[in-house]
C-alpha cells in the first residue's frame, strides 16, 4: 500500500507560509520498489482510486499537494483530505519499444508526480538531456508546476508544461492515460500502467494545465532536449526608455548589445525598482546558450546568478517608511541578488539545471504577476510601475519573456509574452497596489492574464473572459473526463469553485 495516513487531523501550512488548511487530514503517497515504472504507477493509481472512493464516502474533498509551493491558496482547502506526493518521486527511462511508431523515445522520461523540477532536471542531465525551460525556482514538483502554469523564461519557448507528452490521471471512475490524438506510448505500455487510454488533443491540452481540478495526476511522460550550456551575464544598468521599444519589438539582440554581449540572448530578465525605473539602475540578467562540452569550469549556483527572491527581509521597513521605499528597494536589489558575472568578468558556464535554485521558504511573501502581449510592453510597463509605486507597492518589478505556452488555461497565451512579476515582502498596501495595477490595465484596455499560483483575485466571470473559447473547451474536456458532478466536486475547493473550474 503506497498510500499512508500522516498523523491526526490538523492545520497544515504551505511552503512559503502564505496559506493554511484547517482541519486537514494528511495522506502521503510513497514510491515503491516495483522493478518497472509502469508497474509502480499502476499500483499507485489503484491505491489512489480506492482513496478517492473513501474520501467521497467520508464526504471530504481532496487536494493533491506537490511541494505546497504555490504562494496562492489555489491548491489548498480546509476540512479536506490532502495528498502529499513528494515521496512519490521515482523517474524512469522509456525504451524505444514502448513508444508508438514515429515517436522518438530518446528524450522521454516517465516521472512520478512527486518528483521536483530539480530532480527531473538532475535525472535528465545525467542522461545527457535537459529541460528546455522552467521557472526561476526548481523546488516545485514537476506535476504541480505544470498544473498551475508556472511560466517558463526562455524567449523562444513556452511554459514548463510544454515538456509533457502524456499524463496518467486518476478519478473516482478510473485511471486514465491521456495523450495527444497522434499518440505517444504503445497500447501495451498503457495497459500495463492500469490505465484506459484517451488520445484526444483537447483533453490533453486540458490536463497539461489542470489547476488541480481534473483528478490526481500520478505520472507524466516528460520530453527533453540534448543538454546545453548557458553563459550568464548579470549586471546593474540604467535602462533607457527606448530600450523598452526594442524589447517590445523582440529585438533582444539590440538590448543585449547595449547592456551585455553583442549576441542573441536566449533569456532576458529585467528587475526594476518601480520608483523611478529609468533613473535607478535595473538588475539585468542574460543567458546565452552554447553547445554542451564536458570541460567547462564548474560554478556554484551563486556564481551562476541563481537566486531571485531575497527581498522579504525588508518588508516591515518598506511598509513603515514609505518616503524611503525607493532607496530601500534599490539597496535590497543590490544586496539581495547575486552580483555578476558581468561582461568583463571571466565567463562562467552551467547547465540549465545548475542555474536554478531551490530556495528556502520565504515568510510573508507577496507574489503576483500579469502576462501581457509583448508588443504592449513599451506602453504598459511605465504605466504599471507608476500606478504600483504611487499606491505603495513594496516589491521590485520583474520582466521576463516567453513564447506562447501549451495548455488551454496557460496564462502565457499571447504569441509573444512579457511576464511582469511583483515578488517581494507581503503587505496590505502592496496587495492594494497590485489591485490598482489590474484596474488600470483594464481601464487602458490592455489584455493580460494572471498566474494561477500567485495572488490572482480572479472569479469565474473573469476567467471566462480572459480565456474565452479555450475556457469553454477546457470545461468541455473536464466534463468528458469527469461526467459525474459529484466527482468534479470531489476535486473542488472554495477557490476553485469560485473560478468556475470545479462547478
Amino acid at each position: 500500500m503506497p498510500l499512508v495516513r500522516l498523523g491526526d487531523e490538523g492545520r497544515w501550512t504551505n511552503y512559503h507560509g502564505t496559506g493554511t488548511c484547517e482541519a486537514a487530514t494528511r495522506f502521503a503517497l510513497r514510491s515503491g520498489d516495483a522493478p518497472r515504472g509502469r508497474d509502480e504507477i499502476a499500483i499507485a493509481a489503484g491505491s489512489i482510486q480506492d482513496w478517492l472512493v473513501e474520501a467521497a464516502a467520508a464526504k471530504r474533498r481532496v487536494r493533491p499537494l506537490g511541494a505546497g509551493w504555490s504562494p496562492s491558496n489555489i491548491n489548498i482547502a480546509s476540512q479536506c483530505w490532502l495528498l502529499h506526493t513528494r515521496r512519490f518521486n521515482r523517474c524512469f527511462l522509456i525504451d524505444a519499444a514502448d513508444v508508438r511508431p514515429g515517436v522518438n523515445a530518446d528524450g522521454l522520461m516517465l516521472v512520478e508526480a512527486g518528483a521536483l523540477v530539480d530532480e527531473v532536471s538532475d535525472k535528465l542531465e545525467a542522461q545527457g538531456r535537459s529541460l528546455w525551460t522552467s521557472g526561476a525556482g526548481n523546488g516545485q514538483t514537476f506535476a504541480g508546476a505544470c498544473a498551475t502554469g508556472t511560466h517558463g523564461s526562455m524567449i523562444a519557448h513556452g511554459g514548463i508544461q510544454d515538456h509533457i507528452r502524456a499524463v496518467q490521471i486518476v478519478t473516482p471512475a478510473g485511471t486514465h492515460w491521456i495523450e495527444p490524438a497522434t499518440g505517444v506510448m504503445t497500447d501495451a505500455f498503457v495497459a500495463a500502467t492500469g490505465s484506459t487510454v484517451l488520445r484526444d488533443d483537447d483533453l490533453f491540452a486540458a490536463v497539461q494545465l489542470p489547476v488541480g481540478s481534473l483528478g490526481i495526476i500520478t505520472a507524466l511522460v516528460v520530453d527533453s532536449v540534448p543538454k546545453f550550456l548557458v553563459r550568464p551575464i548579470q549586471n546593474l544598468r540604467k535602462v533607457d526608455r527606448v530600450a523598452l521599444d526594442w524589447l517590445a519589438a523582440g529585438d533582444f539582440r539590440r538590448f543585449s548589445a547595449a547592456y551585455a554581449l553583442d549576441q542573441e540572448p536566449d533569456f532576458v530578465q529585467m528587475i526594476v525598482n518601480p520608483y523611478k525605473p529609468f533613473k535607478r539602475p535595473a538588475m539585468l540578467r542574460f543567458l546565452y546558450r552554447e553547445p554542451w562540452r564536458d570541460d567547462y569550469p564548474r560554478a556554484t549556483p551563486g556564481q551562476l546568478g541563481a537566486g531571485y527572491d531575497a527581498l522579504s527581509l525588508l518588508g516591515r521597513l518598506l511598509d513603515d517608511y514609505p518616503w524611503a521605499r525607493g532607496a530601500l528597494l534599490q539597496f535590497a536589489m543590490k544586496q539581495g541578488y547575486a552580483s555578476g558575472p558581468d561582461v568583463d568578468a571571466p565567463p562562467v558556464y552551467g547547465s540549465w539545471g545548475e542555474g536554478l535554485d531551490t530556495h528556502r521558504p520565504l515568510a510573508d511573501l507577496f507574489n503576483a504577476s500579469v502576462t501581457i502581449e509583448r508588443a504592449d510592453l513599451a506602453h504598459a510597463f511605465e504605466l504599471i510601475c507608476d500606478v504600483y509605486a504611487r499606491h505603495g507597492g513594496s516589491t521590485v518589478v520583474t520582466v521576463r519573456f516567453m513564447a506562447r505556452a501549451e495548455g488551454l488555461l496557460a496564462p502565457a497565451r499571447f504569441p509573444h509574452n512579457a511576464v511582469i512579476d511583483f515578488d517581494g515582502p507581503r503587505s496590505a498596501r502592496t496587495a492594494d497596489a497590485y489591485a490598482r495595477v489590474v484596474e488600470r490595465l483594464d481601464a487602458e484596455g490592455i489584455a493580460f492574464t494572471r498566474h494561477w499560483a500567485k495572488s490572482c483575485r480572479l472569479d469565474a466571470a473573469r476567467v471566462a473572459a480572459d480565456y474565452g473559447e479555450d475556457f469553454r473547451r477546457w470545461r468541455a474536456a473536464r466534463d468528458r473526463l469527469l461526467p459525474d458532478p459529484a466527482h468534479r466536486a470531489l476535486f473542488g475547493s472554495e477557490v476553485l469553485d469560485g473560478l468556475g473550474l470545479t462547478c
Binding site: 500522516l6 498523523g7 497544515w12 501550512t13 502521503a28 514510491s31 522493478p35 518497472r36 515504472g37 509502469r38 509502480e40 511541494a67 505546497g68 502529499h84 513528494r86 515521496r87 518521486n89 521515482r90 523517474c91 524512469f92 527511462l93 522509456i94 525504451d95 514502448d98 516517465l110 512527486g114 521536483l116 530539480d118 530532480e119 535525472k123 545525467a126 542522461q127 523546488g139 505500455f189 531551490t358 528556502r360 521558504p361
Partner: protein
C-alpha cells in the same frame, strides 16, 4: 555619581534589548541539494541555565528515513520574553526541520 547609575541602567537595558533581538535570529543549516518534505517543529526548553533540557515532545519525526534537509533554531518573541523574565532559567527555543524525500536511482519504465 547619578549619571553613572543611569549609564549603567542604559547599558543594562541595551544589553537586554540586544539579547531579545538576537535571540530571535534564525540559525539555519541546510544540505546543498535539498529535497524537502513539510516542515515540522518542536519546542525545546533549556532549564537551569542549560543544566537540564526538556523537549516538549520526544524527537519522533515522520518520514525522516532519508535524513533531514535542513534545521532551523530560533526563539519567538514570546519565548525570548520568557527567557528574559526568568533571568534565563527557562530558555525555550523552537527547533524546526524538514525531512529529505530521498533520491531514488533512475529506473526503467
Amino acid at each position: 555619581m547619578m549619571w553613572v547609575g543611569w549609564a549603567l541602567a542604559a547599558l543594562g537595558f541595551a544589553l537586554l534589548v540586544g539579547q531579545y533581538a538576537a535571540g530571535q535570529a534564525d540559525i539555519f543549516v541546510s544540505i546543498a541539494n535539498p529535497r524537502p518534505l513539510d516542515e515540522e517543529s518542536m519546542v525545546v526548553t533549556l532549564k537551569g541555565w542549560g543544566f537540564a533540557a526538556q523537549a516538549a515532545q520526544p524527537f519522533v519525526t515522520p518520514e525522516s528515513d532519508h535524513g533531514l534537509c535542513d534545521v532551523r533554531v530560533f526563539a519567538t518573541r514570546r519565548q525570548m520574553l520568557i527567557a528574559i523574565a526568568t533571568f534565563g532559567f527557562l530558555r525555550p527555543v523552537t527547533v524546526a526541520w524538514r525531512a529529505h524525500a530521498g533520491i531514488l536511482p533512475l529506473g526503467d519504465a
